[in-house]
């Protein structure tokens, strides 16, 4: 069996990433090329290089170039799952309704290829909510705080239910720290609603996709041509003026459309200073559509690279960052990870799990309008595989185990993959297929490319730091 490594190079140097050691090792070009040939089965008894082999032997003695692969896919939390699920629950997301007053272009519930539900005029009833909250209360003994998140469709369509639920939570979770949050399109705010959220200290996540022409391109009312952007900005301004405490607890979620000009997103902050003090998080729209209508344009990609370069110069050359709000939201996390470096290890061991799966029911938990329980709100609600329980029977351990160890369905590929530690796959990555549990090759390959790029970035940064000269 071949060593579990991945070869890569930066501008000036050559490396291999050792999966077992979770470490990048610098080698000279000769060794690099030799290893490349070896991995491609191009080394035979006629072209063995004894000198290089001796150097490789030395590396092996130091614990590198191991051919060890995980034998059994098993998430480390598997054996403690019953304890986690009976004691460490701490959060719940309640799908108040599947209805929405918008029809956003990229929303999976607006249009999909059958892998997800669509918008429906159905809402949860209060008895179902109560049962779900009882499950949370009875299984959160080791959690100091409880988070209740309201979701939809558009949750503000069921404001009365929100009020009822908050009141009920305050009764049954008496003695614990309670946190409420809400994800909303912010088109249905009233003074009463704002008052309530401020009083109950809600955290609000508002969806806003850039300046008016970009936001309204994809986010539209179901039954009118009114500007969604105008309605949202007006609400934010009223909150800023009349509800300062609530304003502090607002964040924006911005979905960036890669078929547009990235620089245009900067206009949002230039034209709307009210957003200066609001935290934002951004994500580039993932093109899941069959007709690839959100495939990123070349110009977008170019502007993306330029922005990243600007950020890099800010981090490493202390250059001033203008338009920092948008750029920081796009790159902060990536560079935080790069600066943190990797955790070195001795070996993968015999049992392990590709990184990615959170513990269903613990990190997140969604209850839908019918009382079914899912690991989170991002996965398909029509795929029965994803159901981990219901409000009558509670969480089912076997179903959680299955999802936690979903990589078992992809075992052969996963255990042989250099991105094993970092791929970030969870059950969501297995969503495109309903009849079989499988990850698409394209999705897999994208992850491998991303990880490869991360390795290159990591070493490039280190090389830059070691070559840097003090200019003082």
């Amino acid at each position: 069996m071949k060593p579990l490594i991945h070869l890569f190079r930066t501008k000036n140097n050559f490396y291999f990433y050792d999966v077992n050691r979770n470490e990048n090792v610098k080698v000279d070009e000769e060794i690099y090329c030799y290893l490349d040939k070896f991995l491609k089965d191009e080394i035979n008894k006629n072209n063995i290089n004894k000198e290089i082999e001796s150097k490789l032997d030395k590396l092996k003695e130091e614990g590198y170039l191991s051919n060890n692969r995980v034998k059994e896919i098993k998430h480390p939390a598997t054996d403690l799952l019953d304890t986690y699920l009976s004691r460490k629950m701490k959060m719940i997301t309640i799908q108040l309704t599947r209805n929405c007053n918008l029809r956003c272009e990229y929303c999976p519930y607006t249009e999909n290829n059958g892998i997800e539900r669509t918008h429906q005029d159905s809402s949860i009833d209060f008895e179902t909510i109560k049962k779900a909250l009882h499950i949370l209360r009875d299984n959160s003994i080791d959690s100091y705080d409880i988070s209740v998140n309201f979701y939809g469709g558009e949750p503000l369509l069921e404001f009365d239910l929100i009020k009822k639920t908050v009141d009920y939570c305050k009764k049954i979770f008496r003695g614990k720290l309670l946190r409420f949050s809400l994800t909303t399109n912010a088109t249905l705010f009233t003074e009463e609603i704002m008052d309530f959220f401020e009083r109950e200290k809600f955290n609000i996540l508002i969806s806003l996709d850039g300046p008016k022409h970009l936001n309204d391109k994809n986010r539209r009312f179901y039954d009118s041509d009114e500007s969604v952007f105008d309605r949202v900005i007006d609400s934010i301004k009223i909150i800023e003026k009349n509800h300062q405490e609530l304003f502090k607890n607002i964040s924006l979620n911005m979905v960036i459309d890669p078929t547009t000009k990235l620089n245009d997103y900067l206009l949002l902050f230039k034209e709307n200073r009210v957003l200066d003090k609001i935290n934002i998080r951004t994500q580039i729209l993932d093109d899941y559509t069959e007709d690839k209508k959100f495939k990123s344009l070349d110009e977008f990609n170019k502007q993306y690279s330029e922005m990243e370069n600007t950020y890099r110069l800010h981090i490493f050359n202390d250059e001033e960052l203008t338009d920092g709000k948008l750029i920081e939201s796009m790159f902060f996390r990536k560079y935080q990870e790069l600066l943190m470096d990797m955790n070195k290890s001795i070996s993968l061991g015999n049992t392990g799990c590709p990184s990615g799966p959170c513990i269903p029911g613990i990190q997140r938990m969604l209850v839908d309008v019918n009382g079914f329980i899912y690991p989170c709100e991002r996965i398909s609600e029509i795929n029965e595989f994803n159901i981990i329980g219901n409000v009558d029977k509670g969480i089912m351990l076997d179903k959680v185990k299955r999802i936690l160890n979903v990589a078992k369905y992809n075992k052969d590929k996963c255990t042989d993959c250099f991105a094993f530690r970092e791929c970030g796959f969870c059950v969501r990555s297995y969503q495109n297929a309903i009849d079989e549990i499988a990850v698409s090759s394209e999705v897999c390959e994208n992850r491998r490319i991303n990880f490869h790029n991360k390795l290159v970035d990591l070493q490039t940064i280190k090389e830059y730091k070691s070559n840097r000269k003090y200019k003082g």
């Binding site: 939390a77 009875d138 003994i141 008496r174 003695g175």
Partner: protein, 360 residues
């Protein structure tokens, strides 16, 4: 104290050591917990996933206050219990319960205004303070303690530090020894424990002065109270945890070790790091900073996922089943060090007996 029937509020995992202490002293009591903690109607041990103790947790509304003589208000209150606490104090007053209040957080003190509270300060501390002042006045040199000193501490600070310290205190007292216990937990005063001097761990006092003060405090205990044994419940973590969580770097352990050296050392250790190599390395480390290797590695059932989550889980770790720890111990019988799991009374009693045999 022993004849009274007590109520205890608010019951939570932090009070597990306290109620085990009450049980060891055969004190009659019941515990109340806020409804939202999910403990109502459950056995008291459920809060730490322990083996049943045979007593259920009550909720305020179902308690007949007239059946009790006194109520203990723990220091472990939080702001979400304020309304309920108000009701409880009212009911206690109506039924003439003695009120032992160990919560000294300023925001709750107004709830106790105009209420007669049992004296909960330890008078011995005044006497010790006089001794310290005398040492300072005569500029006496650093003191070398003469009594038996027992350290109880945890790799990470958990509820087990207080629990084990208190059990050892009670066990030794039952054998006829005079024992003083020093702890940072205010609730310990109920059991006549002393608190660390106010200067220790204060950010207004230099580390050097803190060490001197603590040393003089020990001297004061020995000279004024003259116990056979002093138990020190070590605060905070004993050693840096990893690159994600500093665990106070073990700073306070080091400082305590400078002020006094232990004769016996019980270490509460996590259940997911068990190997002879690891324990030997810990021994090497503690031998340098405390002058003492670990005498007992006590496996605790607090579970922390990994370094970058410890800080958020510190307030409330996940608790594994007590009986699962016993399996872990039997799997590691080959380790040539003393490993134990001190949740059962018989194991504590056995450990205390061996401790005394060591020194007699």
């Amino acid at each position: 104290m022993n004849n009274k029937n007590y109520l205890f509020y608010p019951y939570s995992h932090k009070s597990y050591g306290f109620i085990r202490g009450l049980m060891s002293l055969d004190i009659e009591f019941d515990v109340i917990a806020p409804k939202g903690l999910g403990l109502t109607g459950k056995d008291m041990a459920y809060v730490v996933n322990g083996n049943d103790l045979g007593k259920k947790v009550k909720v305020c509304e179902e308690v007949d206050f007239s059946r009790y003589d006194a109520i203990i208000i723990s220091e472990n209150l939080n702001e979400f219990m304020e309304t309920e606490l108000d009701k409880i104090i009212e009911k206690s007053k109506e039924n003439n319960l003695e009120i032992f209040n160990y919560c000294d957080k300023e925001k709750y003190l107004k709830l106790f205004e105009n209420i007669s509270l049992k004296n909960i300060k330890n008078n011995k501390e005044k006497v010790i303070k006089k001794s310290i002042d005398k040492s300072d006045k005569f500029n006496l040199p650093f003191y070398t303690p003469e009594k038996l000193i027992i350290f109880v501490g945890g790799i990470i600070e958990t509820i087990d530090n207080f629990y084990i310290s208190l059990q050892v205190k009670i066990g030794l007292e039952k054998m006829g020894y005079k024992v003083e216990m020093i702890t940072k937990d205010n609730d310990g005063r109920f059991f006549d424990c002393l608190k660390y001097p106010v200067e220790f761990m204060s950010n207004k006092v230099s580390p050097e002065v803190q060490i001197h003060k603590l040393n003089k405090f020990i001297q004061g205990i020995e000279e004024q109270i003259n116990p056979h044994i002093i138990i020190m419940d070590l605060p905070k973590g004993l050693i840096k945890y990893d690159k994600y969580y500093d665990n106070s770097f073990g700073i306070y352990t080091f400082m305590i070790g400078q002020s006094v050296r232990p004769d016996y050392f019980i270490l509460n250790t996590l259940n997911n790091y068990i190997s002879e190599e690891y324990f030997n390395k810990l021994n090497d480390y503690f031998e340098v900073i405390l002058g003492k290797k670990v005498d007992v590695f006590n496996l605790i059932n607090s579970f922390f996922q990994h370094g970058n989550t410890v800080k958020t889980e510190l307030e409330m770790p996940m608790y594994l089943k007590h009986k699962d720890l016993e399996n872990i111990i039997s799997l590691n019988k080959g380790i040539n060090l003393r490993i134990d799991c001190l949740y059962e009374q018989k194991r504590i009693d056995s450990m205390i007996k061996k401790l005394i045999d060591n020194f007699t």
